[in-house]
């Protein structure tokens, strides 16, 4: 009896392992077929665009049975690299293309702006461009110098490689090495949470995110930029100075499925999805 247990157990384990292995091999052969078919599209790039692209892809798949669109993330820089190398059919980039990237074709699917945000408890209602620059350079370190309470300013900056950072720097004529940041953050929601948790914080995030969160009662306030109110509507009217476009990029003129998908992503059919993720739909 006891010997029995000792004998059967390892064999069961072995059988199980073999079974799983054969399953692995079986599914291997199966998938080769699907991955080679022309009904598959891969997108990689900006983590800002990825949730939107996923939703657009889902709607496209619903309308075109049999098509599979895989959306991967990793940042705008990777979107550019993967579109160039052909790892991805389409790259996602959350800014305009630079002159060094003119080998790629860009298709705008939505607009976005960057708003300065402070904690709701902060009485400061406006900062001039010069004041913003001085604060980010560490020349002004207390809110009392810009008309606020006597409280140390916590400077929240974006991490290297984020397109929000690049846009912010170029708008204010800053170099990242000049910035004296107290907190370095990655994604928009992280920025919102940081500022909501620190009464003395100053940060900048995507307008749509900030507006949605502020409306939901998160303890932040959007500051106007250059006298223009920071809101999705002023962005849509083209009045807001710090704005960017969300693009799909491709190294060759898209055709077939890629073209069909890009056209769909730029059509009015997905405007509700764009607005749903707090971006601004483009005008056809």
């Amino acid at each position: 009896m006891n010997e029995n247990i000792a004998q059967t157990n390892p064999r069961h384990g072995l059988l199980l392992a073999l079974g799983l292995l054969s399953l692995l091999v079986a599914s291997c052969g199966q998938s080769r077929v699907t991955s080679q078919s022309a009904n598959r599209l891969t997108l990689t790039g900006s983590s800002t665009v990825a949730p939107l692209a996923t939703e657009i892809a889902r709607r496209y798949e619903d309308q075109h049975p049999g098509v599979r669109i895989d959306v991967q993330t990793g940042g705008s820089a990777r979107g550019i690299a993967d579109a160039r190398s052909g790892v991805a059919d389409i790259g996602m980039v959350s800014r305009d293309l630079k002159t060094s990237e003119s080998d790629l074709l860009a298709f705008t699917i939505a607009g976005d702006g960057i708003a300065l945000i402070v904690n709701r408890a902060n009485p400061v209602t406006e900062l001039s461009d010069e004041q913003v620059v001085a604060i980010y350079r560490g020349q002004i370190r207390n809110w009392s110098h810009v008309g606020g309470e006597d409280r140390t300013i916590t400077v929240v900056n974006k991490a290297e490689g984020r397109s929000t950072l690049e846009l912010f720097l170029s708008h204010f004529g800053l170099e990242n090495s000049e910035i004296r940041a107290d907190v370095v953050i990655g994604d928009n929601e992280q920025g919102v949470k940081t500022v909501a948790g620190l009464p003395g914080a100053l940060g900048y995030v995507s307008i749509g995110t900030a507006e949605t969160d502020a409306a939901r009662g998160v303890s932040i306030r959007l500051l106007p930029m250059g006298g223009v109110e920071a809101s999705v509507s002023s962005l849509q009217q083209g009045r807001f100075p710090l704005s960017r476009r969300l693009n799909l990029v491709s190294s060759l003129p898209p055709e077939g499925l890629a073209k069909s998908f890009i056209d769909f992503a730029r059509s009015a059919e997905v405007a509700d999805l764009v607005a749903g993720l707090a971006f601004v739909p483009i005008r056809p």
Partner: protein, 280 residues
Amino acid sequence: MRESRTDRLLELACWCSAFMVLAIAGWILFDVMGHGFRRVDLNFLLGSPIDAGRQGGIAPILVSTVLILGVCMTVAVPIGVGAAVALSEYGSEGRRATRLIRASLDVLAGIPSIVFGLFGNALFCRALGMGFSIASGGLTLACMALPLVIRSTEEGLRSVPVEYRHAAAALGMSRTSTLVHLLLPAATPGLLVGLVLGIGRALAETAALLFTSGYVSRWPTSIFDSGRTLSVHIYDLSMNVPGGDGNSHASALVLVALLIGINLTASLMANVWLRRRIRT
């Protein structure tokens, strides 16, 4: 002898540390439960994510997570047990090869997960042509879990008294049957500990998986489809999707429940196994 003041202070300090651990665990559970409990229902567990994950459920993500774990364990357990047996039963302590393997295990255990992600992306996704897939993710996680599985299986093997081996040899048992009938069953609790640690590390992983198994939240049709794990889903909802907090907390609750469930099952299995061994 009278207990000195230092003794009592030390005891107090130790108890404080112990309660702090309890308080931290309690706080995390309380926070996750408080935020996520109302949202977790059958529809959440069985539905697909809708509206970038803010609506709907997490069923495809759960399935991808389990598949990735499955691939990881299918690969890590045989290799891990093999390596552990080689190290503790066939290798002699002083040997250069043994020392080299041990050293490389320590290096593997200390490598940050993002490095595994880049490695997995370069090897499995690109060089081996598996692309963003559950297989790539599972294999990358297997590399990460290997040191844990090997180390604890080795501990398990080492805990078998050397007299057992001598007795087996005296009875004329071959090395193979000693291993299969005596050592491996005896080392099973150790292996289970390694599995639990490995599964824990795998379930917690986001960085390595973003680059290997990917971001796709659709139902996987095979292990060569890209699939998003629970941790990646939680990360994306709380960091990239405005208004994704609610479902992010709910997913966190499911993840914690899954981990606790796996831990309990493993310790239960270890108990059953131990009792059998004692009867033998």
